[in-house]
């Protein structure tokens, strides 16, 4: 747990350093792209782009997690649709995120909305697959005895099934959030304002320094998010909640 917390701290410090002391890295960036006039990305502040990026990811992935868990709860109760839901969840994940992004453009136009929709749809699937597996994986004898002790279906769900499925659900949420951090950057190609902006600008203008500035911050953000989930799982284990099976 302390190892995870210390890694978390290191990533946070690195991310803050990249944002605050961006000008200090100018010599390194000039060495990367000796031919270009401007090596520092200054069209927008990296901090503002980070904020936009986090907002987009938080909204889309957060909503995706909530909707996916609700769907998983419904299909594990009304089992008629369970096979369909698990199949969609597994097949959907083989779909490349860029394709989802591009498909969203014709329906809502350019900007943040198609990115939001694409991230939401793509984020649904890992959480849904894991939530179904987690809820379905709760030992039948435990559910049986919960019911026989006189718990209502609602109490069984809230006090037994969801807490026991939580580690598996969190593993799905981890995938969703980490992927969303990476995928949101591609949103810049269709007009969303994200940390992908410097990367795209760099690619168009053949400016490696721009690409590096965007990519480093995206990478650090992804590491930070991933490590936060790691820390959360460690913390839950310490609190005595069951680890993932």
């Amino acid at each position: 747990m302390w190892q995870s917390a210390s890694r978390l701290l290191v990533y946070a410090v690195l991310l803050a350093a990249a944002l605050i002391w961006q000008p200090l890295f100018e010599p390194v960036l000039s060495w990367l792209s000796p031919d270009v006039r401007q090596v520092l990305y200054t069209r927008d502040s990296l901090a503002w782009l980070l904020w936009q990026h986090v907002l987009l990811v938080g909204l889309a992935a957060g909503a995706a997690c909530m909707v996916a868990i609700v769907i998983a709860i419904v299909v594990t109760r009304k089992r008629l649709w369970l096979p369909v839901a698990s199949q969609v969840a597994s097949i959907g994940q083989t779909f490349p995120p860029v394709a989802v992004l591009v498909l969203a453009v014709p329906s809502v136009g350019f900007g943040s909305e198609p990115t939001l929709i694409a991230l939401f749809l793509y984020g649904l699937l890992p959480v849904m697959a894991n939530a179904i597996a987690g809820l379905d994986g709760v030992e039948p004898s435990i559910k049986e005895s919960a019911k026989a002790m006189g718990m209502s279906s609602r109490q069984v769900l809230l006090s037994v099934e969801l807490p026991l499925a939580l580690p598996v659900i969190l593993a799905g949420a981890r995938t969703t959030f980490t992927f969303a951090v990476a995928t949101a950057a591609i949103g810049s190609t269709i007009g969303a304002r994200t940390l992908g902006d410097p990367v795209i600008a760099g690619l168009i203008n053949n400016n490696l320094a721009f690409v590096v500035q965007g990519a480093v911050v995206i990478g650090l953000l992804a590491l930070l998010v991933d490590e936060w989930f790691e820390w959360l799982l460690c913390w839950m284990q310490k609190k005595g909640l069951p680890s993932s099976p």
Binding site: E139, S141, I142, E144, S145, A146, K147, A148, M149, G150, M151, S152, Q155, S159, V160, P163, L164, G240, L241, P242
Partner: protein, 309 residues
């Protein structure tokens, strides 16, 4: 009191329980014995409405269970199963407190009740542990304590000791018997272990193919099986040895000193089954019975009276 009248249950077209009538008086421990698939667990699960039945009537404490709200009914009936069904994310104390908290008891009353049960089952030192930290025997004690937590009149137990090693199983059986002496619940206990059934039962019900083959006291069934099925089920030729377990040497010994040497010395409350085993082990045909005073002697010829005891 539990009363089943003409209860039938079908799974699809197959008849799982066929016109069962059974009465378990208050404070009695009724054991349902049978091989797997005979319907004993199905019968048990009808009583707390975990399963619905197709015909007949079940009454608990003189009230038809159809008139209860199923959730209220289950809260008023204890339930212990082979897999314990303990919640792995709750510690021992919280697991036991489940039914009291569902019943809305005050925290003080719940605390007190849980502490009483922890002491009763000798698991107070494990109260803060999680279920995966417990041995099989400890987990099952917690399971039974949890079943008793709401102070139910009726307790249903579905092969609770079947997964335990023989030594732990016997000690849990002994504990159950001594606790039952104290609390006098109406218990329905399902098992496929004949010795466990004979040991625990006030009333023994032997089931086969969804019907009751015979019911009565263990000794009555051993002495007078109605059918060859029951006789076979209770051990065939070894039925006599099981019967000998119900008689103590005190009841058979006489003052006449043995005609033969050597003899062994046994306590008066030893069962005739054990005596016979000791005779076989020691190669002798007679024994002296000595307790707080000398009781007399017992010879192998005296064992023929076991059937009449």
């Amino acid at each position: 009191m539990i009363e089943l009248s003409n209860v039938s249950k079908y799974f699809g077209g197959a008849c799982a329980l066929d016109n069962i009538s059974l009465k378990v008086p208050s404070g009695q421990l009724c054991v349902l014995l049978g091989s797997s698939g005979c319907g004993k667990s199905t019968l048990l699960r009808l009583i707390n409405r975990m399963l619905a039945f197709d015909q007949g009537e079940v009454r608990v404490n003189d009230k038809n269970i159809a008139q209860y709200d199923p959730i209220q009914l289950r809260r008023s009936i204890g339930y212990a199963i082979q897999d314990t069904g303990l919640f792995p994310h709750w510690n021992v104390r919280r697991n036991i407190a489940l039914v009291p908290s569902l019943l809305g008891w005050s925290p003080e009353r719940t605390e007190q009740r849980v502490s009483t049960l922890l002491d009763m089952f000798g698991i107070a030192e494990h109260e803060a542990k999680m279920p995966h930290q417990l041995s099989g025997g400890q987990a099952q004690r917690v399971g039974v304590a949890r079943a008793l937590a709401g102070d139910p009149d009726v307790l249903l137990m579905d092969e609770p000791f079947a997964a335990l090693d023989p030594i732990t199983r016997v000690s849990l059986q002994d504990e159950l018997l001594s606790i039952q002496q104290e609390i006098g619940k109406t218990i329905v206990f399902v098992t496929h272990d004949i010795d466990e059934a004979l040991k625990l039962a006030d009333q023994l019900v032997i089931m086969a193919n969804g019907c009751i083959a015979q019911s009565g006291s263990p000794l009555a069934l051993l002495k007078h099986p109605d059918s060859s099925f029951v006789a076979e089920f209770l051990g065939g030729h070894e039925r006599g040895l099981r019967m000998a377990k119900f008689t103590s040497v005190r009841d058979l010994c006489s003052q006449a000193s043995p005609k033969r040497e050597p003899f062994i010395t046994v306590p008066p409350d030893m069962s005739v089954q054990e005596l016979l085993s000791l005779m076989l082990l020691n190669g002798c045909a007679s024994a002296q019975v000595v307790g707080d005073r000398p009781y007399g002697f017992i010879a192998i010829e005296d064992l023929q009276h076991v059937a009449k005891c």
